[in-house]
Symmetry: C2
Subunit: 379 residues, 2 copies
């Protein structure tokens, strides 16, 4: 293991995930250079190279010792090109798999990780046939470029196939059976350069319209065996891909407690933001430790924690700061409908107290949906 | 109370304290502009205006909504000048008192806060007379510009008065009786714009050659009444100065448990760095909350924590990161004898476990002195 701290970290993308990586990395002595190809960087920290026409890659690579990214919808060829010059973590194979739902499902199948039943289709007719076979409703998703619920459609009957096919507008779709799940959960794990893997406690996630709203961890009603199963699934993925860094795996938990893999992300993940205040080492610091070949930090939870996303409009920030053990993380972005602007991590001694505080926070966020935890009734 | 978050924070000074203020303030949505008059800024974050010839104050003030500082040895006239244009916290009276040992002692006396016996002297003859009166040894200190043990001398006998006077080279000195203290402790407290005051648990500090090496908090053997006494002392100081922000008060604890005030600092303080990982809200975030008129955060300790300073040379950083619940905070500065380069916060479930981990950390720092806690024998 190369056990010295790198000075200059290069990050592809310059949004809030890059910002939070930098905030975690300055204390390690790292400096950050971001390569932004959107023309609208929001990191607000470090050196940002704005490069919408892909002219400044060499300049970026000159400045950095190691490269990572905050966004997986990058050309695989770009990552392969960078790999010729500087170490990139996670590597090009991880990004190739994670940005293509067909390859992702194939990997789950190969490793024996259960998923919802699915079919790959390449026409409206195939979509209708697959939906008939799986049983309605089904979800159709574009194979590439899915992000936050975009490029998806729900079919409730055969006659919706044509419209769904046209609305998504891709040549290849994945069609998935609906899962009668009890809750959505996620695993965040980290693999070091030497193959060491550490696992965070699973989080329960609440999405509305495909956008994450709340994550809570650790879970009071999670059987140890379920955590162990999730650990084993993500470990297989990490080892198979010879992965370095943080990976997120979103899963459905069904009524009988079993887990079905939904999708994975080769990066720090919104459902792991609770670790910034609720775990001994944040996902951001652990990602940086991993890509630098440093020992990984403890993933132990400190106390029950809920991450509340601030979407579209900011709430009453001062009032939120008056909630005891509430930690505000703003991204310094302009308000815009559906945009992730900030999150609040709320920590409490018990889950019941946590729920009370999260409800108080909810009243200060004009657009937040009510919180609904699967374990709420038992608190 | 003005309860909205300010956008742009101005900081006088651009060293590691400013750096850590910024790292705490980005998550609140703050941006930072530093005014550096030394020509050698090290913050490595935010916008730094390098202004050794005092030509850029207007530009600095244009950019910021509120001003604070990381260093109290600033001209009082400068703070008064800034107060005409932008809010400055803490205010000019605090800085005037804290940078002058005679005014500081007079304030302690005025408020009935006990101090070691002292005299003010203005010649070698007066120094000798005062030392004879107080009883040897005594400490002679310059009235102004004291920092980390500089401008001080210890006198063990009358014939050393002349040499001490000449070596310090100031027109006015404070001469203090030696205190037979059991330990050095410090209080960190925060006062909001609305007068709310919150107190951190007291820390025990270990200095070597006038430089802080270790701080540990909370203390397993501290009577609640002693913490209450320290709270009351610092509250009087904060209220008297109509203070806004973090204040540090260093004290000696004597054999009978009583406290004698040594000195105060109108800023975030090295002996409060443990709060970054050991308390619900760090001193840096609470200072920023205070100066912006926001609600103050909880000062509760999470677990026993020790801050280990890294002085002069860096240690084996990778090995330190392998210590469970060790948090590295590097300042991105070049190594130089006596220079504060980083600190490591170590958190543990018990003080005994903490001591073991601190000893492990000590072996990884070539120049660190052995740790010696007053309560060690009872662990």
């Amino acid at each position: 293991m190369n056990a010295s701290i790198s000075k200059n970290i290069g990050v592809l993308g310059a949004g809030q995930l890059g910002r939070m990586l930098a905030l975690a990395g300055y204390p390690l002595g790292n400096r950050f250079t971001f390569l932004d190809t959107t023309g609208n960087p929001s990191a607000g920290i470090g050196d940002v190279i704005v490069d919408p026409n892909n002219q400044h890659l060499a300049e970026f690579l000159d400045k950095v010792d190691v490269v990572t990214y905050e966004f997986e919808h990058l050309p695989v060829a770009l990552i392969e090109q960078i790999e010729q010059h500087k170490p990139v973590y996670p590597g090009s194979r991880a990004i190739a798999v994670c940005q293509n739902r067909v390859e992702e499902k194939a990997l789950f199948d190969h490793l024996g990780i259960p998923t919802p039943a699915y079919r790959v289709v390449e026409s409206a007719e195939q979509l209708e046939a697959a939906a008939n076979e799986l049983g309605y409703p089904v979800v159709a998703k574009s194979v590439t470029e899915g992000y936050d619920g975009k490029g998806q459609a729900v079919l409730k009957a055969p006659e919706q196939a044509e419209e769904a096919w046209n609305s998504i507008g891709h040549r290849q779709l994945i069609v998935e059976a609906f899962v009668d799940f009890v809750r959505e959960v996620s695993m965040i794990a980290v693999r070091g350069r030497d193959g060491e893997v550490v696992f965070y406690p699973m989080a329960e996630n609440q999405h509305v319209d495909g956008i994450l709203r709340y994550s809570v961890a650790p879970l009071p009603d999670l059987a140890a065996s379920v955590q162990e199963t999730a650990d084993s699934y993500i470990r297989m993925l990490l080892d198979e891909l010879e992965y370095v860094g943080v990976m997120a795996l979103e899963l459905f938990q069904t009524r009988d407690g079993s887990l079905l893999a939904n999708e994975m992300a080769p990066r720090v993940h919104n459902s792991g933001h609770w670790t910034m205040d609720g775990a001994v080492t944040s996902q951001f610091e652990n990602h940086l430790r991993a890509v630098q070949g440093l020992p990984l930090g403890s993933t132990q939870a400190i106390a029950p924690t809920c991450m509340v996303n601030v979407i579209g409009h900011e709430g009453d920030n001062a009032a939120m700061l008056a909630i005891s053990n509430a930690h505000l993380h703003r991204y310094d972005k302009e308000e815009r409908a559906g945009r992730k602007l900030a999150h609040v991590n709320i920590v409490a001694d018990t889950h019941a107290e946590l729920l009370e505080k999260v409800r108080a926070c909810h009243t200060l966020l004009p657009e937040a949906p009510p919180v609904a935890w699967s374990f709420e009734a038992s608190l």
